[in-house]
Amino acid sequence: MRTVFKTSYDADINLFRHRAQAGWYALLALVAVLLPWLVNVFWLGEATNMLIWAIAGMGLMVLVGQTGQASLGHAAFLAVGCYANVLYQQKLGLPFILSFPLGGLTAALAGVLVAIPTARLHGLYLAIATLAVSILIDDLIVLSAPLTNGVRGLYAPPISIFGLTVDRYGNPYLFYWLVLAVSVLVVLLYRNILRTPLGRAFAAVRDSEVSAKAMGVNVARAKAVSFGISAGITGLAGALMGHFAGIFNNETFNLLISIQLLLMIVIGGLGSIHGAFFGAIVVAILPQAIAIARDAVTGALGASSIAIPGLETAIFGAILIVFLLFEPAGIYGRWVKIRTYFELFPFYRRDMFRRQRSYLRTERMR
């Protein structure tokens, strides 16, 4: 069991609580950078996919986990970021190094535009409003066919940074490192938000809007900023998704993707950066795991394997149900419990993480 002896406020402000923690993350970073030489191209692609989903997850996490605002429509921001990035390259001839951040900013602006009219909405109603936005953006893409090529979709051009061509199939190593770099930057950004008044204002809005106002937090503005940052990060993920997939249309960013993103961060663990990554791992690994399992089953039974539609989403749903019933804190929550068990051994008490049961009080009388 480790005791941390703090001698300055910086100990709380810094990114890592103590040297050993920094060491573990340094090791992780090393493995991540060296990954292209450790696994084959297929798994590298899967890792890249996972990182892109993690970025999108972090985007949603800022809004849902940190600021407590519901969103069932984040695929809309994936779409805005993706289309903006590609259209800036195609129609305006901007290089990736400019169109990428601009795509994120465009998505951020869209987020703020959604936040303003919905500032007074809470919980369920906000979720429905974002759901409506997701569906509307889906339809809008189809209706603006002259610009977006509607249902036929757009091709994402290969990325060119300072003369280096970074293409998912042509240079998988470079593409992976690009995505890795973006995800590390987003993690740093998220951590910075958490340790400054900005993140605390978000948490205040999440936990008690009334007292947040009494403390001087401009709640409407905080919500708009949170939506903007959240949408911006998600937009960046969308842009990367476009380049990863190569071709995309409105179906790539439909309502089910929105829902999947939300389910993903719940499985991973709501309210933490780790949660986004754990959830992304599940989403990325699941198809492969099912394929492997199916091969094993049909191999053992000797039967021919048929593709079962909807199996992935159903298993994803089943995993989520299991987590919600038995471990609402998600994968990260379970990980924290396991780690605490070993840290405090043998003094771990099961009730340490018991959550307060709350009896239902209606929200219809406020």
Binding site: Y9, D10, D12, I13, L189, N192, I193, R195, T196, P197, L198, R200, A201, A203, A204, R206, D207, S208, V210, S211, A212, K213, A214, M215, G216, V217, N218, V219, V225, I229, G271, R355, Q356
Partner: protein, 261 residues
């Protein structure tokens, strides 16, 4: 001399019920002013009016001579008015330290981009905020609970954190909504000492709603008694306590007791 806070013929109605009826009083700088009265007298409503959660139907509320009726609720803290809530409204999923740090929002100097990039200026600001909050922790003896999540804390400690969070704002006027409700005798003693120190050491003016008459008598300079939204008596604690109208409101015309400490 301009009073720090002045309520002028403030009236508020909820449907058919007049919650506050032409209430007027002044709170002078540096004093401890108490609002007392039976339940439903409109005391917490007055706090909500000052915090701008409600708009009065009639009347004016002035802080340092200027009307605050055009202000939004979140601007009140910036003016230097802090409040606690009767039913503790702490941030449950945060630690005590994080709750107190939210109180520093009023003194936030960084901008959005600088905070996201965590510039050296922002780091220096963080140290400054942390130091200010440590002073509050020292004052209220909360060291043991610094890193604990609110969700696991006992009621008495939460009350103290609620007070601490308001103090972290470094206010000029502190509104305390039933600071001693639900506390034991010792904890109430602590509250009395703290209010004394807040008044004399920190120079903060205190306006408090309270049912505990001993506490009121021991710390307040002046008391205003309310019942059914109307003012009954205003003056030193002893005067108000023995005022015939106040006695009637508490004990009832026929000797039936309502509430009395």
């Amino acid at each position: 001399m301009t009073a720090l806070l002045e309520l002028d013929q403030v009236t508020l109605r909820f449907g058919g019920v007049t919650a506050v009826d032409k209430v007027s009083f002044r709170v002078e700088e540096g004093e401890v002013f108490a609002l007392v009265g039976p339940n439903g007298a409109g005391k917490s409503t007055l706090f909500n009016l000052i915090s701008r959660f409600y708009d009065p139907a009639e009347g004016d509320i002035r802080f340092r001579g200027e009307s605050i009726l055009k202000r939004a609720p979140h601007e009140i803290a910036r003016l230097g008015i802090a409040r606690t809530f009767q039913n503790i409204e702490l941030f449950e999923q945060a630690t005590v330290l994080q709750n107190l740090l939210v109180g520093r929002q009023r003194h936030r100097r960084g901008n959005l981009v600088a905070e996201m990039l965590f510039t050296p200026f922002v780091r220096a600001e963080e140290r400054r905020h942390r130091e200010a909050v440590e002073k509050v922790i020292d004052f209220l003896d909360l060291q043991a609970h610094r890193e604990q999540y609110i969700a696991g804390l006992p009621y008495g400690v939460r009350k103290v954190v609620e007070l601490g969070r308001a103090l972290a704002i470094e206010p000029t006027l502190l509104l305390l909504d039933e600071p001693a409700s639900g506390l034991s005798v010792e904890e109430t003693q602590d509250v009395a000492f703290w209010i004394e120190d807040i008044k004399t050491q920190m120079g903060i003016t205190v306006l408090m709603v309270e049912h505990d008459m001993h506490l009121v008598a021991s710390v307040s300079d002046r008391v205003l008694a309310l019942a059914d939204g109307k003012m009954l008596a205003l003056g030193a604690p002893r005067e108000v306590q023995s005022h015939p109208k106040v006695v009637e409101a508490y004990i009832g015309a026929h000797g039936r007791s309502k509430v009395m400490a």
